[in-house]
């Protein structure tokens, strides 16, 4: 004790590590702050020279430019709403792309491990080709070369089975739309979901008490389907209607229309990201050693239980974190939409900039939007990683 006191007395403060650390950090912060202040000062001087002031009031002005897809929107709406339409479009392409790319990635990843030599090589070829060509080149290929050059005009559209039509103006698909009685049926959906969740939680607790493995999700799913089916028959008329695209005079009517830009962006992003996901899935499957499966079988678990309780948890622990970063990459890469004319947030943002000249504000808005998506994803990921972390002895 006395030794400690004397030593702290004998060391002068300029040689005391604790003091030096504080001084060092303060100095570092001061330098960083000075740099930022210098930049901000330049910004102010430059803006004043142009007669501009930073303010977000322009978001309340009328946008005046058209956005051809996404939420209902008029050129008379305000800039702020136009930007929101862009954000929703980014989320739309990202979510659909994520579903599609996961399917592609999983199938190809499993194919790479197939015992079939040809399938294995084919999957490997796909991965190697797609990963080593720039995404933008692929997007341009899909958009300019395939969609706008190779596909026929609306009149000679390529029809695929299931009333799917590929044309130069986009892709037309059959689609389900809510009919008049949908409102009534919606109550059955809500009620069914509530009951299903309750059953799931109840079953889960029950199984946990009994310390038995099981599939509560099957119970919940069956009950949900039963309630929805009952609702379907009890509501007058069909709550959902199938509309099929039909070629009218100049264009297709009915069904779902995916624009040229949207389709090529969706295909390009999914095909590209799918190659990376395939490698992740492959690594995840390889990460679970054969011994695990054999041991689980030896203990007497059923095949389904082996997959769900032994293999998948271990594989997913390896797969999920890089998978999430691929999803995030897909979302960020969707900003290339601007180069093929899809109205995502980057495209709307630059259009607003071109109309208003508000550089700083628009860049802040664009970056903040992407950062929010990234941060939300990484928060979720951190939560997941903490839950799934190996509990070691």
């Amino acid at each position: 004790m006395s030794n400690k006191v004397s030593s702290s007395h004998s060391v002068p403060f300029w040689r005391d590590v604790r003091v030096l650390r504080v001084i060092g950090q303060v100095l570092f912060l001061v330098i960083i702050a000075a740099g930022i202040l210098w930049l901000l000062n330049n910004l102010q001087v430059n803006l004043r020279a142009c007669g501009l002031r930073i303010s977000f009031n322009f978001l309340k002005n009328t946008a005046g430019f058209p956005i051809s897809e996404g939420l209902r929107y008029n050129p008379t709406d305000v800039h702020g709403y136009a930007f929101w339409v862009g954000i929703v479009n980014t989320i739309r392409i990202s979510l659909i792309g994520i579903v599609l790319t996961t399917i592609i990635g999983t199938v190809v990843g499993i194919a790479r491990l197939s015992s079939n030599w040809l399938v294995k090589k084919l999957a490997g070829l796909y991965v190697e080709v797609v990963r080593n060509i720039p995404l933008l080149v692929q997007l341009f290929f899909w958009y300019f070369a395939v969609m706008l050059t190779a596909l026929p005009m609306v009149k000679n559209s390529i029809g695929l089975p299931g009333s799917i039509y590929l044309t130069r103006r986009g892709v037309y698909l059959p689609w389900i739309t809510p009919a008049e009685s949908f409102g009534t049926w919606a109550w059955y959906i809500i009620g069914g979901l509530v009951v299903a969740i309750a059953v799931y939680v109840f079953r889960r607790i029950q199984l946990k008490r009994a310390e038995r493995p099981g599939f509560p999700i099957i119970w919940a799913g069956t009950i949900l389907i039963l309630i929805l089916g009952a609702g379907w028959f009890l509501t007058p008329g069909n709550p959902l209607a199938l509309t099929i695209p039909v070629l009218k005079r100049f264009n297709f009517e009915g069904g779902l229309w995916l624009s040229t830009s949207f389709t090529s962006l969706l295909v390009g992003l999914s095909v590209y990201t799918g190659a990376f996901i395939a490698e992740i899935v492959r690594a995840g499957i390889l990460a679970v050693s054969r011994g695990q499966t054999e041991a689980a079988r030896a203990v007497g678990l059923k095949k389904a239980h082996v997959l769900r309780l032994v293999v998948l948890p271990q594989a997913l622990r390896v797969i999920i974190p890089p998978l999430a970063s691929q999803y995030l990459n897909l979302t960020k890469n969707s900003s290339l939409a601007i180069l093929i004319g899809y109205y995502d947030l980057m495209n709307v943002g630059t259009t607003i900039f071109n109309q208003t000249g508000r550089a700083v504000e628009m860049i802040l808005l664009i970056m903040a939007s992407y950062l929010t998506m990234s941060l939300l994803t990484s928060l979720l990921m951190n939560y997941y990683n903490r839950r799934m972390k190996l509990v070691e002895r």
């Binding site: 650390r21 060092g24 950090q25 303060v26 570092f28 912060l29 960083i32 930049l39 330049n42 910004l43 001087v45 430059n46 803006l47 020279a49 197939s114 015992s115 079939n116 030599w117 040809l118 399938v119 084919l122 190697e128 080709v129 990963r131 080593n132 060509i133 720039p134 995404l135 933008l136 080149v137 692929q138 341009f140 290929f141 300019f144 070369a145 050059t149 190779a150 960020k332 890469n333 900003s335 290339l336 601007i338 180069l339 980057m346 630059t350 900039f353 550089a359 700083v360 860049i363 664009i366 970056m367 992407y370 950062l371 990234s374 941060l375 990484s378």
Partner: protein
């Protein structure tokens, strides 16, 4: 040493089981028709391959490939003046010479890389290029051979290795200055935002080269015990990694001049290079951090025990090991960055992808869109695939993941 490790050593010394020659029929049965499901898969994928191959062949035979040779100069070096093309060749020779030198001094993987480069240049020289171009192409092989000879001679000499590293590092600024020109000595070449494929290469090399020191500092900062430094570095890395490159390029094109005093007005290409460096630095930092994390605590403790202070420990003990581990990751990042340079077109820089628009806009070459995109795809694919192949080889020779 635990049992696993012992087992690993034993495995390495064991001979592999004698290989069995499998008759073709049995091979087919084992690999393609082992079950009815596999048989169906085989048939379906054969059909798929046939369709693709025949479709491609039919198209490739009808395609107007003459668009590529007719515009080759424009695609590769853009508007670089013909009378100064020798400067581009000189830079290529410099790189070939250095590659040869390194391969002479080290052998191994380097030798295979430089031999391949020389062989490719000889093969290209056989193709029906103009005679002048053929001569230049052959020169690559000659430069590589000269470098190889010198490197081989200087193998044992101690300062030779330092000279090699120094010349590699110096070759970057020298090449850039040589291409651009210096006031008074070499005429400065105008229009450097229109250099075609050269800009993709320059962008990737500058991006990786400049971001390397920044990235190392950021990585060290993120692992620092000083909270303020850690916070700032982490914030920088996460912000940059959280936004798409295209938004940063957008910022560089419209906002960077607002952040600088009126006297400083960097041109578009400089701004693009700064952006790609700032972007790449964040990813570099994460790669390097991965390497730093792989260094066991014992290395630090041993270094402190020997009496090294923190700075010396980092520089002499930790970084050399950490950086060695991350070489494959850095090559991977280089490939990604190289592919990302196609985004330069967004800010009106005429790199390879963007310069094709001027060709497609030409009436004479209307409808050659497939040919051009396929050409670009093939060029990138060959370069990126061979780089990732080299990176995988490096990984093997470094023994990353096994020790």
């Amino acid at each position: 040493m635990d049992e696993n490790q012992l087992a690993g050593y034993a495995d390495k010394n064991q001979l592999p089981p004698p290989s069995e020659r499998i008759p073709a029929i049995r091979w087919l049965k084992q690999n393609l028709f082992s079950s009815w499901f596999n048989a169906i898969l085989t048939i379906v994928s054969t059909a798929l391959i046939m369709t693709i191959v025949f479709g491609l062949l039919r198209w490739a035979l009808e395609a107007r490939w003459e668009v590529i040779p007719a515009n080759l100069k424009l695609l590769l070096v853009g508007t670089y003046p013909v009378e100064y093309l020798w400067r581009v060749w000189a830079v290529v020779y410099l790189v070939a010479f250095l590659l040869g030198f390194s391969s002479g001094a080290h052998g191994g993987l380097m030798r295979r890389v430089s031999t391949t480069a020389a062989l490719v240049s000889v093969v290209l020289a056989v193709l029906p290029f103009p005679w002048g171009t053929r001569g230049w192409l052959l020169g690559i092989a000659v430069a590589a051979a000269a470098g190889f000879g010198l490197g081989y001679l200087g193998k044992g000499i101690r300062w030779c290795k330092r000279l090699e590293i120094a010349s590699w590092i110096l070759s970057f600024p020298i090449s850039l200055i040589f291409l651009n020109g210096v006031g008074g000595i070499l005429p400065v070449i105008k229009g450097r935002t229109m250099w075609g494929f050269m800009l993709n290469l320059i962008g990737a090399v500058v991006g990786i080269g400049l971001s390397f020191p920044v990235g190392v500092l950021l990585a060290l900062g993120r692992r620092s015990k000083l909270r303020a430094i850690r916070l700032v570095c982490t914030a920088y890395i996460e912000i940059i990694r959280g936004v798409p490159l295209i938004s940063l390029l957008f910022m560089a094109s419209i906002m960077l001049q607002l952040l600088l005093p009126a006297s400083v007005r960097p041109d578009l290409l400089i701004r693009a290079m700064l952006t790609i460096t700032a972007f790449s630095a964040a990813y570099m930092a994460e790669n390097v951090r991965g390497g730093l994390q792989a260094i066991p605590q014992g290395q630090y403790e041993a270094a402190y025990a020997v009496g090294l202070n923190k700075a010396l420990t980092t520089i002499l003990i930790i970084l050399p090991q950490a950086l060695r581990i991350v070489i494959p990751a850095i090559v991977g990042q280089f490939i990604a960055l190289f592919m990302d340079t196609t985004l330069f077109g967004f800010i009106a820089i005429l790199e390879l992808l963007n310069i094709t628009r001027s060709i497609m806009g030409n009436l004479e070459w209307r409808g050659t869109i497939f040919e051009l995109y396929v050409f670009i795809g093939v060029v990138f694919w060959i370069l990126c695939y061979s780089m990732s192949y080299v990176s995988r080889r490096i990984e093997k020779t470094l023994g990353v993941g096994e020790r």
